[in-house]
Symmetry: none
Subunit: 224 residues, 4 copies
DNA sequence: TATGAATGAGTGTTCATTCAT
DNA sequence: TATGAATGAACACTCATTCAT
């Protein structure tokens, strides 16, 4: 899948050649793909530059021609992954106006990308807080943006249905549901992204669905 | 809180009498508390024995009198944390028979423990797959057990209500919702465990709540 | 010579035992002696911790038990060397009151120590500006102190003889004369410290010696 | 100043005509100027080819078109600097015959060049012993030559005045005085080359000036 | 019961240099 | 005439762990 091959912005100054993908870019992308694999397997801290170098078939020193540091490597992966998911979401959201459908689009987009790029997504989710300084700030900015979009989706739903719930908790719960996947998803036993999106969408949308508690409204809700 | 102080099983042969908590146990527990702090802050791979020794005030070599390895340290933390949460769940479940209430108990138990032991719970969740071999096997066994309990709770609910949904997805989604909180929970802005359990319980229970889709049943559920 | 064996203050916290020189101190001193040798031979930048470790017979990692960094190693050497030379100077100056004799004492003290500890003195002189931050500040403080002492000696001489010359240039010229010897001194062809001190003392003292230019006063001094 | 721009002998085979300064030479000279700056700032060992390339704006690989190695670069700098100072000295010495004046010319020449090319002169003085093999041998040859000239100047002075002193110590002391400048000279507080040459010339010439010890001859010279 | 002393293997990163183009 | 791409060796330093005491 093309989108999972990071077409990262160059690390070293280059003389342009605008549209054509350069050899440098291709090599860099290849390394990133291997790095995702290794980070996925061992975690960021657990993965050494030597592991990364071995896995990508490039010399240890050679890596540094493409990346100035291990941190930058993670940053590039996270940035590309996150930016892509947001970009695609925006694209898909354009065509849909119904508030509930928009949330379903959000869920489907997230899960489809997640399952198609499971490893990168684990690296994004799991190494959430390792990037510091400016790299970290940039990633956190995208994260905030993604969060904002989802909160707006929630607010629209609330307005549309005339219901009330805590958007923050709702959004964060939804994220949890979806992001946790990387800990359990097994393509041989679990449904595909579409079906999963349907099920999680049902749970979530029905869950926040109305101010009343439906037919079980009378039930005791709290546990002493 | 007593339960959050790990009364870990001994590591080295002991000459002590059975029931009395020995000095060894107390020191060991103290080290574990500090280790949780450091693992929480730096992650398992990022935390070095030197960090752990510094933080607990014990000499580097001294640590090895209490633990045979860094891995064992993580194992002890995860084992104790997980075992405690399961133990408490069983306790609480004894008094409740209504299927929905039992699930609410499950959620409350999880969240209460999670928030009261946030750091340990992050260490449990985040370092999910670092333990290999027998240590890992043991932790995975508890995990399976915890999972089984929750699946049974779901099955009981389905039987009771005469509804149908995928228990696996439901359980795992619920886990995701709950475990994800270590990435976002902020005691200054977010509600306490009880309230959170209520809200997540609502979302989840209402979400899986009925075979029908309530008043919005006619809505298009799938996204192209 | 005892004084050339650095009895450095400990690097790691120790429980005192005040007066007795500990095993730690002895090992540390031994390493310092080897380090001086290597720094002398290769320069600070050119000497690697591997060289130092090889030369002292201690494992690379072992070195870091005694010193927290290569910089600290240099600092310890420079501090001890410089502090000792100043200390000895003060001692010797106590017994002498005649201004000229005091300068001769200064020169002799410097040269004697220089030749007895030629390698350490080269490391002190040649690696003058590599230490930054607090280490460097401390060394520079001692240097300023040493300089001050010498300036005072000059001022006393001027007052005593009723002559005038630029103390700064005089002191710095004298330093140059003396410190430069590490570039050329050859014990097989050059005189010992006492004789050298006599000769340099003559050149210097006679050189600044009187306001008049002696019998050659009429000579043209400047070069177009 | 033309003379401070190293018109170095070419490194690579040239097809060019003899007398005209080629583009190659000019580029090479430009690199040398930048290299002096970097060696001055970081020292030879501390300066990397990357630093040098960055500072001169030429690609890392490009440097090797002009220089076959980092060592050669230092050699070129030292050779040119040293050769120029000797050449100029010879020039100036031609017009002067009085022994004392000749020494004053020597001092002035040295100091003027030193201060006008302070950075290059530090690189010459400070990296005195890093060049090995044939490069080093060549530099050492010039050094010996320069030393010989100065010794001859001293011998002429001794013959002229009928005095006796150790020429070796005298020359080397004079060198020390002068070369040490790079460690302390501050153009904002210190006099210019002419004045400095006067003062150092006075100290030195008066210092070696006569077999007798002038009016203080009776003074005790040695320090026990 | 605990630690000072020590280490081999590994960390991320930079080095001077090469070579095809 | 110059450089992009690449590398083996080295860099300072930290790792988890051991063992005599």
């Amino acid at each position: 899948m093309a989108a999972s091959t990071p077409a990262v912005s160059r690390v070293a100054p280059r003389r342009g050649v605008a549209l054509r993908e350069t050899k440098f870019d291709r090599r860099l992308a290849k390394i990133l793909v291997h790095a995702i694999e290794v980070f996925y397997e061992k975690g960021y801290e657990g993965a050494s530059m030597r592991h990364l170098s071995r896995s990508s078939g490039m010399s240890l020193a050679g890596m540094y021609y493409y990346f100035e540091s291990k941190e930058k490597l993670l940053y590039l992966i996270q940035k590309h992954t996150f930016a892509t998911i947001v970009e695609r979401l925006r694209e898909r959201l354009k065509d849909v106006s119904d508030p509930e459908q928009r949330i379903r689009v959000f869920i489907l987009n997230h899960l489809e990308y997640f399952l198609a790029n499971q490893k990168a997504m684990k690296v994004l989710s799991h190494e959430d807080d390792v990037l510091k300084n400016s790299y970290g700030a940039e990633i956190r900015a995208i994260k905030r943006e993604y969060y904002r979009i989802c909160v707006e989706l929630m607010d629209a739903l609330k307005a549309d249905r005339g219901i009330e719930f805590n958007s923050r908790i709702a959004v964060l719960s939804l994220y949890g549901m979806m992001n946790w996947i990387y800990t359990w998803y097994n393509p041989r036993v679990d449904a595909d992204a579409k079906e999963l999106a349907l099920q999680m969408g049902d749970i979530f949308l029905r869950g926040v669905g109305s101010g009343r508690y439906g037919k079980h409204a009378a039930k005791k809700r709290s546990v002493n």
